[in-house]
Amino acid sequence: MSIEFAKWVPWLPAAAAVFCGLCCTNRRMRTLAAPVCIVSLVSGFLITLGVKGQIGGELSDAGTRLQVFEWIRIGGLNADFAYYLDTLTVLMLLVVTGVGSLVAIYAAGYMAGDRGYARFFAAVSLFIFAMTTLVMADNLVLLYLGWEGVGLCSYLLIGYYYQKPSAVAAAKKAFIVNRIGDLGFALGIMLIYHQFGTVHFSTFTADGVVYPGLFEHCSRLTLAQVETPVLVIPFLLMLGAFGKSAQLPLYVWLPDAMEGPTPVSALIHAATMVTAGVYMIARLLPVFELSPYALPTVAVVGGATALFAATIALRQHDIKRVFAYSTVSQLGYMFLGVGVLSTVGGVFHLFTHAFFKALLFLTAGSVMHGLAGQLDMRKMSGLRTKMPVTCWLMFVGCLALAGFPFTAGFFSKDMILAAAMDRGLTGQGTMYTVLGIAGLFTALLTAYYTFRVWFRVFMGPTEYEMGEEHAAVEDTPTDGNEADPSADTSIDDGNIKVEHHHDAHEMGWLMNGPLVVLAVGALLAGWLGHADSSGHSWLLSVIEGSSANPTRMVEAAAGHAEAHTMLLGMELHTAMMVISSCLSVLGILVAAYLHWFNRPAADRLAEQWSGSARVLENKYFVDEAMDAVIVKPLRMMGYLCFVFDRLVIEGLVLAVGWVPRIGGLAVRRTQRGALQGYGIGMAVGVAVVAVLIAMVR
């Protein structure tokens, strides 16, 4: 398949979004929304597969530019609607459209009977349009468009249950926190334009004029030529990445974002959108490499976030929140990987994480669906008999997240940690060793909290409490079009049957089918990145063929490195694999003891450590601290501004408003029939113009 077809990947979901949007207006068409959305996503995935087949062929290493149309050309700013295709783009597209398709299929079952069925799929389609635009963009302006687009869809979908105040608050929080990061990103783009005079990645020729791209500009610069403003750029971009990918200190929005429907949490807040920050740094690695402190900063923030979020996850009781913090933690790993120049590791982890985290969220969604909205793991136990398929699917996901040997998460996490240790042990900074050890410790915590969920929910005696929230949401009367009481019945008339189970139940295969695919991926995807004896892997070739290949710094570091770093008498990679395997198993065993065999022991432990347990349960009181340090003072300032506005600005505005009103009165007086007055006015005007023409030279 010609790679030209790749142009259609974003536009099919865009068309689907418009169609689904129209479906919202018509009750009968509502059920069409899901099939249309699914078809558009699956076709996008198939096209991507076709494009993947062209790697090495039509799709060369240098990256290909696909122009869709001329967009913005003002002065030197050249931001066309053009796509940049290289291996990294293709990998990201595979993740976005692949996971997107699976989640959409799952959601067709999960969202059935919901009032906003069409609205949901319209937003999901729009999201895929924005996300594919983001990863395919050939310039930063277009990338920013996609970036804001996914932010918008995230906002819309977090606040999907807009009757719930908590959902609205969470949506607002996500939006505002992301604005802080995006401000940095926007400033970074402006600074890039200011410094390099270009915002597009690839070099291209139009009308015989060569427009050198950003990457070429970067490769031409030697480190000695780099000036201070250029050194600042990566830090501004980083701020955007940390906001979107929920890293310290801007991670606070992600756990709250779980207010959205679970498929959204899986797609947007685990598999795709939140990895946009990692993608952006990988894509712009040539820019980040220009500043010697940029990538180490990324590594430190990533490592710290990984550990920090993992500790919070230890004591959360809401299943989705545990997974949310684990997402923050795993994203930290990815940043750590990119930061220690193992872009391969970072992107590899992004790839595997998409599988197992989507799987975990969707199975959590199944549990929630089966128990009518119940998410508190203290109120459920022993569900394996009620939901056997879900139970074992989640088990697979947990294994991968815990980094159990030879699952997907195992290989990718190992690659990142080995890279960090390698840099540490070859004398490039003790910091890296510390980060590596912190990463290992995080891996232990991860194994523990992951299996804590699984053992609590599925093992032990079978007892549970049904939730009420979901049902309550469905019954709440809403306003607007959706308030129509006949809306539900009309859907009942259609293809989708709304079944209200009053007991825990297993999902149908419409929902479990996609999960099986994800589970297979969670088990096997790791082998794609596993290096064979010659040290090559598919994933390595993906990164080496893209802009994310760290060349400059690796060359700089090559001087330090010895041929083979050894640890514990083994080659480093092997040693890390052994260590992390042991830690993973250890974590699982501890979880099994505390949360399956001897649950009272866990409670006793929590009592003994009640102080720290409380701190963790309250997420280190970060929200409260932010409220006191940032929100309250801002509110105070806002109030002051309000008072100022009322007293001073409004007075001024009213005064300004009076000027034309008085002028108008004056005009009106002349306009009341006094035609002679108009004549005089015209004559005076002509005279003034004549004087101007004659006198001004």
């Binding site: 000027v659 034309p660 015209m682 002509v686 113009v689 023409i693 004659a694 030279r697």
Partner: protein, 538 residues
Amino acid sequence: MNLASETRWEDLWGDLWMVMPEVWLVVAMCAVVLAPFIKRRSVALPLGVASAGLMLAVMAALSSFASADAMGTVFTGSLVIDPFSQFFKVLLTLFTLMILGLWILHSRSQTDPADAPDFLCLLLGAAVGMSLMVSATNLLVIFIATETASMPSYALAGFRKRRREGSEGSLKYVLFGSVSSAIMLYGMSLVYGAAGTLSIYGIAAQAAAGISPLMAIGLAAMLAGFAFKLSAVPMHFWCPDVFQGAPIEVTTFLSVASKGAAMCMLLRALAAFAAAAPANGYLFVGIGVAVGILGAVTATWGNLVALHQTNIKRLLAYSSISHAGYMLMAASVAVIAGRSWEGGQHQTGAIQVVVGAVLFYIVVYAFMNLGAFTAATLLAMHTGTEDIRGYAGLSRRSPWLAALMTACLLSLFGMPGLGGFWGKVFLMKSMALAGGAGFALIAVLLFNTLISLYYYLKPVYYMYFVPDEDERPAFLPAGGGLAMLVICVSVLLATGLLPNRIESLARGYATLYPNPVITAPPPLETTVSLLESAPAHD
């Protein structure tokens, strides 16, 4: 050269082929008047004839792009056919077609069928005048074209004979029109006396040697005539009264077509002057400054007065005054830019940028104004009032109409994503060519944009935030009206999202006929023939 001796019948015949758009309009005009003899009291027949004539005119104008032979001067240099004029004619005729649609929508039911041919004849007549205006390069033709456009407009403005407001507006229109025509004619006679030629190229060449006081007064008086058609301050007094009193489709027609034609005529004259100026000349700064100040005052005045209007037609009338001001400000740069671009390579590039920007603006302005007026028409038919307070709660009663009207109003303000934004951006871009003075113009434009937001949002405020106290039922406007609105908003979105495409298109059409080479300025003699005209182009 002398018309009588040198013009051959073959040339005239060939020239006729080049003005086919006008010919078709005139033919349609005559046919429309004759229609009642075929079928009495029929509206469909004259309407069909008029639409057919307009479509033929569109095709004739389009076909002139097909070959280079179709461009050039006709009738011994008194008219110019170039991409610029033909582009505007296409726009004008298409726009007139849409006006016909608006007329069917709004007035057909209220018009006596016997009056329909009269209305259509007047509309076509005005269109003929306007399309001649963009081609005119000779003072006499300029005057005749302007009057051809004006006379039917006077009658159109008062077409509802029984409406007092309409008659009052029409009378005012006639009075102001005759005064400004008199001023313009007087100015033309002075200019002719000073330059000894009627061709604007000849006048420009004469003026390049120095502007005499006689010439200055004459040019100023001529500018007054242009300003009247543009409703620029201080020749704008007629505008709100006429716009309020006239039927809404006439208001729309006048607010866009009449102003667009006058703008194009002015651009052609300014471009002729700019091209005639010596490379390092400082000659026409006075004209540029005069036009620029005229534009700045017009824009500011229009916006300030619009702030407190509550009648939607009056509000849009003042808004159209300010838009004419914006275009005037940019047009002034066509002359000033020559000064700031030092070195020989001055104007041609600058003129094309300016003309392209104004042309783009006219296109966008035509559709956003048409959209706003169409929405206002639908609303007036629904609520029975033109007061914007009657729009309360519209977003509930008719969400589509409210959304489409909001889009048009926001585009008029210049909201990014809609065509109006890029129109203003390109105007500012061309203003920047003029250096310091240009930045002053940009500041004025930005200030005006800011204050205009207030009154453009006023209807939006009523539609979305004020609940409807009367609790009127939901209403679905007529399909035709909605279709027209959707077309307008689609154009606005297209120009808003793909500005470069359309702007480069407009700039491509901004190719003006070059000034003919004038070997020696004609001597100033009292014996020159009144018919002496521009040297024919060969």
